[in-house]
């Protein structure tokens, strides 16, 4: 294995983000030092925290407290590899999921003199670069410093080796998963035929949802002390799982059981090597595997009017809407749009389901959850979709530039698509929410009306931003909207959503018991005022969107 080749490949991987960062392409220059700022910062932060903790520890007068802290630190050292394993798996898989949408795949240039071993090693290490590596540097530097104060340098040294090994194991596992997933996908396409589109669509959504729900569950509201405790004590029971062998080695080391320590350390090295060997083998077997083409239609071509045509859209408008619908159901990088509302619903409803509270919510909770589930998914979808509906065209945007499409048609069909899509999401998520939370009919009625107001108005607001900030960069992954424009749009949307919902605040306050009860008709008055505000916002921003679209079509060259 040529280590220089591995380093070169890793460096290519680091550079793959250049275009997405919006660097200018001519006379390209970049500061290498900037790449290392994050890692240097993590290291300094780790040293500072380690020194702080160590100083506090040394300054403690009570030996019992010091002993308790030392035991706690040992637990942390022992459980650190398993914690790092979990996080590394989540982050490396997240990185791979993002890469699934990369337009230009980072495939090994197979015609160059690079071995599969070099490629696989580079891929595994490159996958750790970023937040994972920064976190690892932070933990390692903090542990190194604190161990000096605690007098546990040898344990810290072993822990650091274990952490590095386990991060590699996690990334190698992700690499194996990635290669297998490509091969499996190919097999599914081949056997599914036309249904492959829908298999892929629902399969991807299911994968993302499960992944994100696990991620949210793990990262929000987790009792870390309990997790540490469980990991430190529970590892011994699960000794047969090789992923926790580095933690086991540390456990036996702290107990002074040298033979067991050596056995589990060697076992960990063997497991790491075996995983790497499997990853290399799989890469050499399926690394260049291309999933077969998906054949969507067979037989003679017969044009159809289609749903959009029947709804009164012109030929070109309906064509763009049909194309956009196919984009959102066939492009993997756009499937995230479906995932977000579903993940929100699931992660919100899960705690209710677990505690069996869903049917017995107090009015405040009922109002809160109803509002969240009925208002949020549609509104979020309108914001996201509206701001990205133009940028998602990517490089093929030349079709819009070179075709005889008027500004009015372009804005109309894109706006209609965003509104219809967001309403469908509200309907789907709302139905699930209503079944589980069981709000009153009055609440459902008010929330659905408000949801439509939000969708109609925020779609126009976001479409304006989406046209103005459209970004057609596709490599390494589609960006769709310039980040600054997306942030500004989100803030504007939040403010305007607040304005539109404001008339209902007194009604909600009364329902929650914070204000005196209001007459029945107040709800309808509030809805009417809210509707008027939404109409004004929609009209104003739709006009701006038209103006932006005019500039957009006129300035095709940029």
């Amino acid at each position: 294995m040529k280590w220089k080749n591995v380093l070169r490949l890793i460096s290519i991987d680091i550079k793959s983000g250049r275009l997405i960062r919006g660097q200018r392409l001519r006379r390209y220059r970049e500061s290498r030092a900037l790449h290392y700022v994050m890692y240097g910062g993590s290291c300094l932060l780790g040293i500072a925290i380690g020194w702080l903790v160590g100083t506090v520890y040394n300054g403690l007068p009570d030996p019992n407290v010091r002993e308790m802290l030392l035991l706690g630190a040992k637990s942390l050292f022992i459980s650190a590899p398993t914690l790092v394993l979990t996080y590394s798996l989540i982050f490396t898989m997240m990185s791979q999921i993002q890469r699934a949408g990369i337009k230009s795949s980072i495939q090994p240039p197979y015609w160059l003199p690079i071995t599969w071993g070099e490629h696989t090693l580079a891929s595994i290490l490159a996958n750790l670069i970023g937040i994972q590596l920064a976190a690892l540097i932070f933990i390692v530097s903090a542990m190194s410093v604190v161990s000096v104060f605690l007098g546990e340098v040898s344990l810290a040294a072993l822990t650091i080796f274990a952490l590095l090994a386990i991060a590699f194991v996690a990334s190698a596992t992700t690499e194996i998963f990635r290669v297998l997933q490509v091969r499996l996908t190919g097999a599914v396409y081949k056997s599914s035929g036309k249904a492959a589109i829908w298999v892929r669509f629902f399969g991807s959504i299911l994968l993302f949802v499960v992944f994100y729900v696990v991620y949210f569950y793990f990262t929000s509201g987790a009792n870390y002390a309990a997790i540490l405790e469980a990991l430190a004590s529970g590892q011994k029971i699960l000794w047969f799982i090789p992923y926790i062998w580095p933690g086991m080695a540390l456990f036996y080391f702290t107990n002074g059981q040298i033979v067991e320590t050596i056995v589990f350390s060697l076992g960990s090295v063997a497991f790491l090597s075996a995983l790497f060997a499997v990853a290399v083998k799989l890469n050499s077997r399926f690394g260049l595997y291309e999933p077969p083409a998906i054949r969507v239609s067979v037989g003679a071509y017969a044009p159809r009017v289609g749903l959009w045509g029947r709804l009164g859209f012109s030929l070109s408008e309906a064509a763009i809407m049909r194309k956009d619908f196919k984009a959102f159901t066939r492009r993997r990088e756009l499937m995230y749009f479906f995932v977000l509302p579903i993940a929100i619903i699931v992660s919100m409803i899960m705690p209710l389901m677990r505690t069996g509270q869903a049917g017995t919510l107090v009015p405040q909770e009922l109002l809160f959850f109803s509002a969240l589930i009925l208002l949020m998914p549609g509104a979020l979808m309108a914001i996201m979709l509206g701001s990205m509906i133009i940028g998602q065209e990517g490089a093929p945007v030349w079709h819009l530039y070179s075709s005889p499409i008027t500004v009015e048609s372009l804005v109309k069909c894109k706006y209609a698509f965003v509104v219809i899509f967001s309403c469908a999401v509200t309907l789907a998520c709302g139905t699930v929410g209503i079944i589980i939370i069981r709000p009153s009919l009055r609440m459902i009625f008010a929330a659905l009306i408000e949801s439509i107001f939000l969708i109609v108005s925020l779609s126009a607001v976001s479409l304006r931003a989406g046209i103005k900030g459209a970004d057609f960069v596709e490599i390494p992954r589609p960006r769709m909207i310039r980040p600054l424009e997306a942030i500004i749009n989100f803030i504007i949307c939040l403010i305007l959503a607040g304005v539109i919902l404001a008339p209902l605040i007194p009604y909600a306050g009364a329902m929650m018991g914070f204000l005196n009860p209001l007459p029945q008709f107040y709800l309808y008055v509030a809805l009417a005022i809210s509707g008027a505000a939404a109409a004004i916002v929609t009209y104003g921003f739709y006009r701006i969107a038209l103006k932006n679209a005019k500039d957009f079509l006129a300035e095709a060259e940029t």
């Binding site: 001519r26 077969p292 083409a293 998906i294 054949r295 969507v296 239609s297 067979v298 037989g299 003679a300 071509y301 017969a302 044009p303 159809r304 009017v305 030929l315 070109s316 309906a318 064509a319 763009i320 049909r322 194309k323 196919k326 984009a327 066939r330 492009r331 990517g394 490089a395 093929p396 030349w398 079709h399 530039y401 070179s402 075709s403 005889p404 499409i405 008027t406 079509l553 006129a554 300035e555 095709a556 060259e557």
Partner: protein, 259 residues
């Protein structure tokens, strides 16, 4: 050739700069209706920019662009409706199948369902894409993608074709069909402006040829006029091109590389 005296494309004093790079340097051009006009030049000489200006995809810094009697800045949509365009690197919607893509472009140009069906099926058969039209474009080869792009440029019966490397990646049979088709269309008054690096194709197909270099038009005319301009009687287009663009030091370059 059925060349009309009427202009299909008329550029007057057209210029375009990108920062410190001059892409097109005050070009005057008059392409007649029914003409097959070749645009040649080394890489970066401004050919693609010129084609994009004609279609209204690039706004000139100065000068005027008149296409099919319409000023480009006044009604670009009306021009686009009558133009068929094949870009140098056609990036298509890869998530669509070939047939879905053609259906989409035909709808953009407002082709009626009956016409659309007839023409798409004819072209698919002619270019031997039948049987693969239901596959996603992401699985197409370069040649198949080019065929789909060409069909989408022809489908609405345009009056002007702007083709950037139209035969790129095509198999010999399909290339021949496209060449013959362009000839037939020219005889019916359809104008073609094509940019190509394959000089044999340009020499064989084009009624007139313009040679661009560093944004300027070095020479324009039929083969005889170009030979006169280069003072190379009996020579082929390659020799004329190399002489006029001052890049005829090919032998010396090869010898230097062989050292």
């Amino acid at each position: 050739m059925v060349t009309s005296s009427e202009s299909a494309v008329k550029l007057m004093g057209v210029a375009k700069r990108y920062a410190d790079v001059v892409a097109v340097d005050y070009v005057d051009l008059d392409v007649k209706q029914g003409e097959i006009f070749g645009l040649l030049g080394p890489n970066g000489s401004g050919k693609s920019t010129l084609l994009k200006m004609i279609l209204g995809l690039v706004k000139p810094d100065s000068g005027s662009v008149n296409v099919l009697g319409i000023r480009a800045e006044e009604n670009p949509v009306a021009i686009k409706a009558q133009v068929g365009y094949v870009p140098e690197v056609p990036r298509l919607y890869e998530f669509l199948t070939g047939i879905e893509y053609l259906d989409f472009t035909a709808d953009l140009y407002g082709v009626s369902p009956a016409e659309k069906r007839e023409r798409i099926n004819e072209y698919l058969e002619a270019l031997e894409l039948e049987g693969r039209e239901g596959d996603m474009i992401s699985a197409y080869s370069l040649g198949m993608t080019q065929k789909v792009t060409l069909i989408s440029a022809f489908i609405h019966k345009p009056k002007l074709l702007l083709l950037d490397e139209p035969l790129n990646g095509l198999d010999p049979r399909s290339a021949r069909i496209i060449k013959d088709l362009l000839r037939e269309l020219a005889s019916k008054g359809v104008t073609t402006i094509m940019s190509t690096h394959i000089l044999e194709i340009a020499q064989a197909m084009c009624d007139r040829i313009a040679i661009m270099y560093e944004g300027r038009l070095l020479a324009i005319g039929n083969m005889e006029e170009l030979r006169e301009k280069a003072r190379l009687p009996e020579s082929n287009l390659e020799e004329i091109f190399l002489t006029l663009t001052g890049t005829s030091d090919v032998r010396a370059v090869v010898e230097a590389l062989m050292k």
